[in-house]
Subunit: 211 residues, 2 copies
């Protein structure tokens, strides 16, 4: 059994994707383990999940600029990650754009999940955007983080039907269930060394040849 890959998760909210990843990583044959939670929100539910699961967690003051982060906080987050020998950073509902030293250090080694079938419905309130547009299917996308917003190469997508009596809450819940599966799958593929990037296309090493 090769050594497990060390993962840090960045989260601002209740932490359901963090929890799904952490649960997936408790399995013996999962190739990654979550060694660190970093949050910018002292009230994040993710903190309680980390404490319950025995995962080290850090609260970082990212500065007053909403949606952005100070250089100091980016440096601090980078130091926390390298101090834990983190090899992959997973954004999971982290409400700030990552830039500065943290992005420089983890360029190509940071992934994010977005509750839509990118490139549709980038940015905030993706589920509401999908409802307002009137699409019949939406879903979720795990992708590498680049310097754009929700623009990086796509690793995994999962499809969710939009029903005509959907509210934003109902659709969000249906997508969230798929996010948990998609994120655990994407991290598994990355940690197992099965991903390569060709231009914008993410290829999966696939012994069965059925992708």
């Amino acid at each position: 059994m090769p050594a497990k890959l060390n993962i840090a998760v960045l989260a601002s909210g209740r932490g359901s994707n963090f929890e799904a990843l952490a649960l997936a990583a408790t399995k013996d044959d999962y190739p990654a383990r979550i060694v660190l939670l970093i949050t910018d929100n002292p009230g994040a539910g993710a903190i309680r999940i980390a404490d319950r699961m025995g995962i080290d967690r850090k609260i970082v003051d990212c500065g007053p600029s909403r949606g952005s982060m100070s250089v100091e906080s980016s440096f601090k987050m980078k130091e926390y990650c390298t101090g834990k020998d983190v090899k992959l950073v997973c954004r999971a509902g982290f409400m700030r754009i990552v830039k500065g030293p943290l992005l420089d250090e983890f360029a190509g080694r940071m992934i994010n999940i977005h509750p839509a079938l990118l490139p549709s419905f980038k940015g905030l309130d993706a589920q509401k955007q999908a409802l307002d547009y009137g699409v019949k299917y939406s879903g979720c996308t795990v992708h590498f983080v680049d310097r754009g917003i929700d623009t990086g190469p796509v690793i995994v997508q999962r499809i969710v039907p939009v029903k005509q009596n959907d509210t934003e809450e109902k659709l969000s819940a249906r997508i969230l269930a798929e996010e948990h599966v998609a994120y655990a799958e994407a991290v598994r593929l990355y940690a197992a060394g099965r991903l390569s990037v060709d231009g914008r296309r993410v290829l999966v090493d696939d012994p069965q040849g059925d992708r």
Copy 2:
């Protein structure tokens, strides 16, 4: 059995979606019939299909401006349609933006099919756009035509997986098979009077309540 709704199809190419619609409409219980094919291309394969199936067809010179149509040709197309008591106009690979008298007459009664999951990959070469972006799923969208390009309210979408060894040709063929199903379904719903539009959302009257 209520009277069937009269449909005109606009096509510029081989006419595979025209053929799929025409075949669906040969069934006794299908609520629409194709009464007219209009093409801007004297070499369109769709013409041979119309002749084989005994469907009236008109070739209209839409003018030299590629992708657009002259006012005269739009007027002529409108006259052909109203002369056949057409109630719905279906674009099926028609390579010109419809405007002028034809659009005015059939506003809200014209639909189009696009080989992508709109709003992703509007415009030309949607399958290549999807491959280049690296999405894991694409598909097709039947939508009402408005004054934008591929922007109108969505009636039916169908999903197609993108495989990692896909070429544009392979992916296009896989999407095309779903286009045939999606278009026949959308026309069936429209002709049966089961569609209503609420803002951008197209609602389907659904006795089973499972949408």
